[in-house]
């Protein structure tokens, strides 16, 4: 390594980058930033504005400024805490299933075997189906306690069929959503896994490391960035799960499967209360940001090289 290359290397990595490359970098990043800024500011400010009005779509012209009433109403809803808890449970549940399952599947699919291409498509396929359709299929074909497949299987071995959607609504929804997102996690983790340096693995195998320690000390750290990204992206989507709930349980029974997004819908949009819906939306954003900051603090360091 010549002196010159060492110089370049330190210059490129981090705050010591040349003015030229930094200016270029800012230029390249600006379209994305500007667009997202515009996208965020315009609807967001309109939403904030509406949240302070008593604006019902079906009674226009009667809007008046009511300060924080909409927020108060949303936060004092008896369902609020249950919705909050359900939201967190849903996110954590699905994350757990998809990350653990996704890692296991990625490891499996990385092995050589016959028909790799087909199995890969089979595993990724659930992500292709529209969420409403998958929810309907699960609800009616599988989980229905009279006509569903699970019921038939239970009856086949002499057990009482279990009423999934009435007695374990949140769990059922977690199951459905996890099935939909498993392919996403698997795909990202698999792509990350395939960039793992085989020589390092072989070397450690020759040094006598067994599968467990190889996994923990070599594979997992390599995949930590991918896992972090999966967690972050999925969390954002999972916080606003909506279609599946609408189609299966409508948030019930009671509030057992209502999450914050569904609460905003049921309480506000369903009665065309734009003011209330906007307040609920703002509250959802604040909560999501809290979750995100929390997450970043926990796993953010994995994003650095």
């Amino acid at each position: 390594m010549t002196d010159r290359s060492r110089l370049f290397r330190t210059e490129l990595a981090g705050p010591m980058a040349t003015a030229h490359s930094r200016a270029a970098a800012r230029f390249m990043i600006s379209p994305a930033v500007l667009l997202l800024l515009g996208w965020m500011i315009v609807p967001l400010s309109m939403t904030v504005y509406f949240s302070f009005l008593s604006y019902n779509l079906l009674m226009p012209g009667m809007e008046e400024f009511i300060g924080f009433t909409n927020y108060e109403f949303f936060l004092t809803d008896p369902a609020f805490f249950e919705a909050l808890t359900n939201t967190i449970l849903l996110v954590v549940g699905v994350l757990f299933i998809t990350i653990v399952g996704g890692t296991a599947l990625a490891l499996l699919l990385d092995q050589p075997f016959w028909g790799q291409g087909i199995v890969r498509i089979l595993v990724i396929a659930p992500f292709f189906v529209m969420p409403t359709v998958s929810a309907l299929v699960w609800k009616n074909m599988f989980m229905n306690p009279v006509n569903g497949l699970f019921a038939h299987m239970a009856k086949g071995v002499g057990l009482e069929p279990f009423d999934f959607l009435a007695h374990a609504p949140l769990f059922s929804i977690i199951l459905i959503v996890a099935w939909q997102w498993l392919p996403f996690a698997t795909l990202i983790l698999l792509t990350a896994l395939q960039s793992l340096d085989q020589e390092q693995l072989e070397a450690s195998k020759m040094d006598g490391a067994n599968f467990g320690s190889r996994f923990i000390y070599i594979v997992l750290p390599h995949m930590s960035r991918a896992i972090t990204v999966v967690v972050l992206i999925q969390t954002i989507f999972l916080l606003s799960v909506f279609a599946e709930i609408l189609v299966t349980t409508n948030g019930g029974p009671g509030y057992a499967s209502t999450n914050i997004t569904y609460l905003v819908y049921a309480q506000s949009l369903l009665q065309f209360d734009v003011g209330g819906g906007s307040a609920g939306g703002i509250i959802a954003v604040i909560l999501a940001n809290i979750v995100a900051i929390f997450l970043m603090r926990m796993i953010g360091k994995n994003l650095e090289a």
């Binding site: 290359s5 290397r9 930094r22 270029a24 970098a25 390249m28 990043i29 379209p31 994305a32 930033v33 667009l35 965020m40 315009v42 309109m46 509406f50 499996l108 092995q111 050589p112 075997f113 016959w114 028909g115 291409g117 087909i118 199995v119 890969r120 498509i121 396929a125 659930p126 992500f127 189906v129 969420p131 409403t132 359709v133 998958s134 309907l136 074909m141 599988f142 038939h152 099935w179 795909l187 792509t191 395939q194 960039s195 340096d197 960035r225 992206i233 954002i236 916080l239 606003s240 279609a243 997004t261 905003v264 819908y265 949009l269 819906g277 939306g281 954003v285 940001n289 995100a292 953010g300």
Partner: protein, 276 residues
């Protein structure tokens, strides 16, 4: 990445992989099979797996009733359009964040992700009003714009992740050989990042293809994509399971085919060996 393993081990792995794959795929298989049943068969109990009267009536009915081709073209234009537009904006952005990180890079990344945190149900009316004023309601352009914006954070994030995997030394070597910035991005970076870009493209096309909130609320008859096509078969008062299955199969099939053909891109690993 050829590794020498015993045939015995390969056999066991094959068995396990296929079993798991089929289990995961089963609901979709069920949907496809249901699309060939009559409505009465679709709700029959106990349900029949393969031994029923196969019929094509659902497909003919679906094709007669709605214009599959129009919806299909709309979906293609919207998904591909928003993905390509998103990639064009995101690749430079992700490059700069991965290779010339500043102090605020992580904050910018988090902020981008936070733009996705506003639940669509809460912001429907403002967007609808905006679109109405700009004449974008029921246009493909309007949908492309919306979908690009809502998925841009995801694209940036995924590309950022993949770019981070590429060791800076390769780019540095190119620069030392006198490559300009443009050359560096296009001729050195992009080929190495192809698997990453490919999987980002595929996943984003799927996200846009299945997006069922904005596509339903901002379109009427002209720009409606396949999500509207499918939604017209789901009903709270009337059993359309077989037809819904047929519509869904017609909607998934193009994506499955796309996924099948982009496989090779997803599999290619990064050429680390070259640097060491």
């Amino acid at each position: 990445m050829a590794r020498r393993v015993s045939n015995q081990r390969k056999f066991v792995v094959t068995l396990v992989a296929w079993a798991i794959g089929l289990t995961i795929f089963f609901p979709i298989l069920w949907t496809v099979l249901t699309s060939f049943k009559t409505e009465a068969e679709a709700i029959a109990s106990p349900p029949s797996f393969l031994l029923f009267d196969w019929t094509l009536e659902n497909y003919t009915e679906v094709n007669e009733r709605s214009d599959y081709f129009l919806h299909f073209m709309n979906s293609v234009i919207i998904s591909l359009g928003s993905t390509l537009l998103g990639l064009a904006i995101a690749i430079p952005a992700a490059w700069s964040m991965a290779f010339v990180p500043g102090k605020r890079t992580k904050d910018v990344l988090m902020w981008m992700l936070s733009t996705k945190m506003l639940p669509p149900v809460g912001v429907l009316i403002p967007i609808y009003l905006l679109f109405r004023d700009f004449g974008l309601l029921d246009t493909r352009l309007g949908l492309v714009i919306v979908l690009t914006l809502i998925n841009l954070p995801i694209i940036v994030w995924m590309l950022f992740t993949y770019f981070k995997e590429i060791p800076g030394e390769i780019l540095e070597a190119a620069r030392m050989d006198g490559a300009t910035l443009w050359n560096e991005v296009v001729h050195v970076l992009t080929p190495m990042a192809v698997p990453g870009i490919a999987s980002t493209l595929l996943l984003n096309v799927i996200l846009a293809w299945n997006e069922a909130f904005w596509t339903l609320n901002l379109t009427a008859a002209k720009a409606a994509p396949l999500t509207a096509f499918i939604a017209s078969y789901s009903s709270p008062e009337g059993l359309f399971y077989a037809k819904l299955s047929a519509a869904s199969t017609l909607a998934i099939a193009p994506i499955l085919i796309l996924g099948w053909f982009s496989q090779k891109q997803l599999v290619r690993g990064l050429t680390f060996g070259a640097v060491k």
